[in-house]
Symmetry: C2
Subunit: 167 residues, 2 copies
């Protein structure tokens, strides 16, 4: 056992949830500068059957909070999906950062190679802790953060690639 | 030292470069079914100053090939960016999968906590091997794969979230 699973989970969370906070702040400034209501940007979708920007942020947060809980054998945390503004979504990111930071590294790393039963849709998939991190938590975290970034870019918020990597 | 860095790098590569192959094949079928040239889809951008779909696939491939080389202390591989069709991009993915699979796990894992000098733009950043994986390779891999997925979705290719997780 090493501490690489907790290290990668926590540093990825700090980086990418931190990125979401930063780009949400840039979205707020863009909305104010263009006198367009935030709700217009936050309800945007890349395609009609994809989820809107608000849900992309909420799901990115849940992915790491629930992922950390599952890796550490804790009860699932539940945050109500009630945010309607960038300020509220930034607060959701802060709650998520605090939650993940508090999870015990040792409890996470104890499951590095333990087979966990991961519910996916209606089914349950057996996965080692490190496989759950690599194959589920990280691609989902980065997927929803990237779609949020893409939704901002496609609506004219001035962001560059560096904004996706550095909070 | 554990083998978790090589495990996460290689399993993430197999999964997400594999996903790109699968969704490129679905794009090819969609282009054929709608009698629209593949080049129309492959040149699409989410926003004028973002890179087109072809480049997103090429950069996702380079991210893991060069990342694996840098982690293992090898010379940088170089693949020419000449692809113009889905079949050629799928072949690029196959070359990438073969390249990463051949890199020595032991050479990668030896750098788990060694500080590497990573060139980023004009600068060089010192990063431990596992930080380079977590903070650079994985978010870039997933970012470019997600933008490729989003470009396909926004052009009407019938994909679901599962297509991003399971090759």
């Amino acid at each position: 056992m090493s501490d690489t699973v907790s290290f990668i989970l926590k540093s990825s969370t700090t980086q990418t949830i931190g990125v979401l906070k930063s780009i949400l702040a840039k979205l707020a400034a863009h909305a104010a500068a263009t006198s367009v209501e935030e709700a217009v940007f936050l309800s945007a979708r890349l395609y009609p059957d994809m989820l809107p920007l608000t849900r992309q942020v909420q799901i990115a947060c849940d992915t790491v909070a629930r992922g950390a809980a599952r890796l550490a054998g804790l009860d699932m945390p539940s945050f109500p999906d009630t945010e309607t503004t960038t300020a509220e979504l930034i607060a959701r990111c802060d709650k998520t950062l605090a939650y993940v930071a508090d999870v015990s590294d040792a409890a996470i790393d104890a499951n590095e190679r333990v087979t966990l039963q991961i519910p996916i849709g209606q089914a349950t998939m057996p996965m080692e802790g490190r496989q759950y991190l690599s194959g589920f938590i990280l691609p989902n975290l980065h997927f929803h953060a990237t779609i949020a970034y893409g939704l901002m870019r496609s609506q004219g918020v001035a962001l560059g690639k560096r904004d996706f990597l550095v909070p």
